[in-house]
């Protein structure tokens, strides 16, 4: 038992014990956030490069804070204002960055498989911070940590993931993780936004919000990813909000009173989530963000601290 992987690319690769190790490590690191001096020397002398080809607020900031709290040197690269605008290829940029000997490269890219491509090409550890519609493992891990803190355990929990499943790497990573931990997952959304693969992953499918949110422990609302929608998959935002938006009224009539409301952010207020729900008592959206830093500290620590790693 222990962490032996060079990279963290997908939830699909991990087994249940690795997921629990990551969540446990993150849980123990949370205490650092409440310290007066938020810095521990664990990754002193390590270099972490954030290589972000897509816009990001939460993920990039939280990787940066996580690295800095662990005393690593963190360098941020974003595609705007870099040689990418001069036409340099992704893999060439990555090789050039690798030539500067970073210990960990955190990558976000709009193409599925970008992180794996780097993991094969580069000797340093790679963390997938979102690759297209494929996976976003650290988001799933922080969701799992939030769920365990609020519910106390994973056993037998039922989670409804609602909305734009087709474009959601968050949904995919969460379904893999939750199924491995023995949780039940129901996905729900308009048929055009439910991809065929979800049943193969062991998730149940529903086409009615009211049905999907009844008797579940967690409701995870997804962002309607308008930037990834090329075809007319939904008739209009108004119609989507009416049928698939979570409101106080729908919650009161169909869901259990102790159901957690989660959202990976950024929230389209008034589309998938009514503002009163997003800011309501069972919303744990900001808890998710806070736990994001702990999860990313845990990931960086396990990757850089593994035996025979670059730190040896």
């Amino acid at each position: 038992m222990g962490w032996t992987r060079k990279d963290l690319l997908t939830m699909r690769d991990l087994d249940a014990s690795e997921i629990v190790l990551l969540v446990d490590t993150a849980a123990s690191l949370q205490e650092i956030a409440s310290r007066e001096i938020k810095k521990v020397p664990a990754l002193r002398g390590k270099t972490i490069v954030n290589l972000f080809y897509e816009p990001s607020t939460r993920t990039r900031t939280s990787f940066e804070i996580a690295g800095k709290w662990l005393s690593a040197d963190v360098v941020n690269f974003s595609s705007g204002g870099s040689s990418t605008s001069k036409g340099e290829r992704f893999i060439d940029t990555a090789r050039n960055i690798a030539a500067m000997s970073p210990d960990v490269v955190v990558v976000r890219h709009s193409s599925a498989g970008a992180a794996e491509l780097l993991a094969r090409a580069l000797p340093c550890s790679i963390v997938n911070a979102g690759d297209g519609g494929h996976e976003h493992p650290t988001q799933a891990l922080l969701d799992l940590l939030t769920i365990r803190e609020k519910k106390g355990h994973f056993d037998g929990l039922h989670v409804a993931i609602i909305g734009d499943i087709a474009h959601s790497r968050v949904a995919r990573s969460n379904i893999h993780g939750m199924r491995k931990l023995g949780m039940t997952v129901t996905v729900a959304g308009p048929p055009t936004l439910i991809p065929p693969f979800v049943q193969e992953l062991g998730a149940k499918v529903s086409y009615r919000l009211e049905e999907a949110i009844g008797d579940v422990d967690v409701i995870m609302m997804l962002r309607l990813q308008q930037e990834r929608m090329t075809a007319g998959l939904i008739p209009s935002l108004r119609e989507y909000a009416r049928y698939w938006g979570l409101t106080l009224d729908k919650l009161a009539r169909h869901a259990r009173p102790d159901t957690l409301i989660m959202h990976p952010g950024p929230v389209n207020r008034g589309v998938e989530l009514a503002p009163e729900v997003a800011d309501g008592p069972y919303s744990v959206i900001l808890d998710q963000v806070a736990r994001g830093v702990a999860v990313r500290m845990g990931v960086l620590l396990l990757l850089a601290g593994r035996k025979g790693g670059d730190g040896a």
């Binding site: 222990g2 490590t25 810095k39 020397p41 664990a42 662990l70 035996k307 040896a312």
Partner: protein, 187 residues
């Protein structure tokens, strides 16, 4: 996993239950004597058995002096100087629910050996605030220091060879109170 871990067998018992208890009673008295009472003292135990020892010392001081001292738990994994050399770092968390500012912090560990754990603990504690002083209590001092660190309170000084292990067993974790020396089997 590399070469198979050597098996160890018990070579000698160093402290039995009564002797362990007496050592802690003596240390508790020494702490009170050295600090002129229990005012502004706090215990920080190092995971895992240092925490149990710290709770027991606090209970002794409560008996002797009537003062209940705070006890915190410190995990020094993030402060080790050998990250990446020992396999997966296991973080079990630090829990010090009181301010150490202007307190005399007594660090409690089971076995004092190279001193590297204590070096890490000193850094970890100072990152949490500025104590008036830090003192060190250990149940066994087995020698072989690699750093200029010395304990203030010692249960037992025990000359050992580097290949031996000093195992502190405590009721809370191991079902018995005992300290033994173990040596590798293949001799």
């Amino acid at each position: 996993m590399g070469s198979p871990a050597p098996r160890y067998r018990e070579k000698a018992q160093v402290l039995d239950e009564t002797a362990l208890d007496r050592a802690l009673t003596r240390i508790a008295h020494e702490i009170l004597e050295r600090n002129g009472g229990a005012k502004d003292l706090a215990f920080v135990g190092l995971r895992t058995r240092g925490v149990s020892l710290a709770h027991r010392l606090a209970a002794k001081i409560a008996q002797i002096d009537g003062t209940t001292l705070p006890v915190g738990t410190l995990d020094i994994t993030l402060y080790r100087d050998d990250l990446g050399m020992r396999g997966t770092p296991v973080i079990r968390g630090t829990d010090i629910p009181f301010s150490i500012k202007d307190k005399t912090v007594i660090v409690v560990d089971d076995v004092l050996f190279t001193g590297r754990t204590i070096r890490a603990a000193l850094d970890a504690i100072i990152d949490l605030g500025r104590p008036t002083a830090i003192q060190l209590a250990c149940l066994v001092d087995r020698g072989h220091r690699e750093l200029p660190i010395r304990p203030d309170y010692v249960g037992k000084n025990l000359p050992t060879s580097r290949r031996e292990i000093v195992a502190v067993r405590m009721r809370e974790h191991d079902g018995e109170d005992r300290v033994v020396i173990e040596e590798p089997e293949e001799t």
